[in-house]
Amino acid sequence: MLPRSTRIILHTLLPSQSHAVLPYGIDEIGFEHFYAELMRTATTRLKIVFRLAVWCALWISPLLIGRAPPLTRYEDATRARALAAMAQSRFYLVRQMLLVLKLVVGLCYGADPSVRAALNYPVATATPEGNPRT
């Protein structure tokens, strides 16, 4: 199950009902199921790096905007500002941690049928049954 702090961070990264074309946030794309699959099948390296990235967002990102951690103490706008500050950090590893968060979320978001339909992308098949030759 997705830990509460992770959910809050990812919800800040990808909020629901906040964009006209893409109203889908972390809650609407089945991230819970994806996360379970990730933890079950991903390489140890990816799992460790993802957890480090969550930790970094939780405890380091508030410091970048002069606030005390953890990130979960703050309202949406402040959380978004803190995460955005990770992208501008002069520390390479902090920037990389935001990239890891976006990569993992992107793996779920970019494959989601609703998201792809909204962008007119072909639906991404996750099973061979959707392939043209089968």
């Binding site: 964009h19 390296r45 955005a84 976006k102 992107g106 970019g110 061979p128 030759r133």
Partner: protein, 504 residues
Amino acid sequence: MIFDGEKEQRAIEADFDYIIVGSGAAGATAARVLADTDASIALVEEGPAVQTAEFVEALFPSMRRIFRDMTMLTTRGRAMMPIIQGSCLGGSTVVNSGISWRIPDDVWEPWRAQFGLGDALPLSQLHAHWDLIERELAVQATPRAVWGENNRLMDVACSKLHVSGFPTQRNVRACHGSARCLTGCPFGAKQSMLVSYVPYAEQRGATLFTSARVDRISIKGEHALGVRGHFHQPTLKTNIAPFTLRARKAVIVAASAIQTPLLLHRSGVRAAHLGQHFQAHPGCSLVGVFDQPVRSWFGATQGYEVDEHRGDGRFKVESIALPLETLCAALPGVGVQWLANIADAPHMAIWAVQLRAFAEGTVRNSFLGTEVRYDLTPRDMANLRRALRFTAELLFAAGAREIITGVHGMPERLHRPDDLKYFDSAPADPAAYTFILSHLFGTARMSVRAQDGVVGTNFCVHDMRNLYVVDSSLFPTNLGVNPQLPIMGVAMHAARQLAEREQH
């Protein structure tokens, strides 16, 4: 015949004339040549046998199934560059774009003059091999019908700026333009080794071992006796059953410029240059946002390229259709801003720089696993800045309304050609850029004298009698062009020499 390691529950012992480790461009080509002889062949692949009908578009399942370490192996150095390698039957040819280049004369010439390899790798014979391979794999320029807008826009830019660009030569039969090369062609149109030389060899009697990791080569004195390893579940890395394969004639290593030196080292081969001289082609991209839809989901994944500065700037520019999942991660912003950028994806063209870097790194086993150390040099960074500026110029010439740079320390977006000046003062630190690393070379390089390399001019490891290396590990330098065809030509040359020697 195929032994699928995911299903094998019993230990296997068997004898073959040749054991080939790795089923990518090099291993499959060696198998294709040796399968035409009377010899018995084992083709051993660490990754699973994933058939065309099993390829899926969603990136995460593909990463688990057909990419090595889910692309999580990164270089150590100033910048962490993910190393992109296929790990499945057919190797990286399953996940590349099928781009076919011969070794350019200006790249081969130092191999002759500086490294003394003119006789070992004679260009005239390599051209004859490439002629054959190009015929067999249907290498041709990307037809206009499957350019799609992403590739067409690059053609427009080249015409406007009068620079050298052309539709990419690719090994594809009847491309559908599904833009899915990177997760395995679902139509079997791309002539990866999975659908070409591996079945060719299998039909002529080669035995395939998949999901079969070679732990070590058994060596006694100057002789390679065979290989020992485990069938395993490739994603979870759990061992299932051991196998032992004995080689009557030779062991041929074609496991890539990362796995080959590691395997040789694990097997007791010691050479000062083993795992050294690691070279690559770092890739870095820009995103152009256009008023009109680009719809990069239709068209050849990489159907157009620009080689204007391959010689003087050591870079090429290529169009590329990234999976939406990857594109999402590459776009800037958090929250609503990120969503707004993702919503623009249908209007985006991604054009990538492929840099022929001067940098050399190392590959070795450490207690944390595979360790690849690699840092770009100041000259590489100067070339990269120039390459990105040139790419941005192309994008504006094609009509981009803005360009997303993705470079830390530069404006996030460029809005007009005047903004190109920002590249002149762009950071010299590799950590400011986002790279991927593909096209790997040099870690068991060929040399005339034993003290200068790992592999002799007969493709045999120095001081060994029947342990051969035929992949890009033996290349003395990187190429500046896509390596599949060069690797195949060299592997074909090596395998033919080997077959001829055995016959006499």
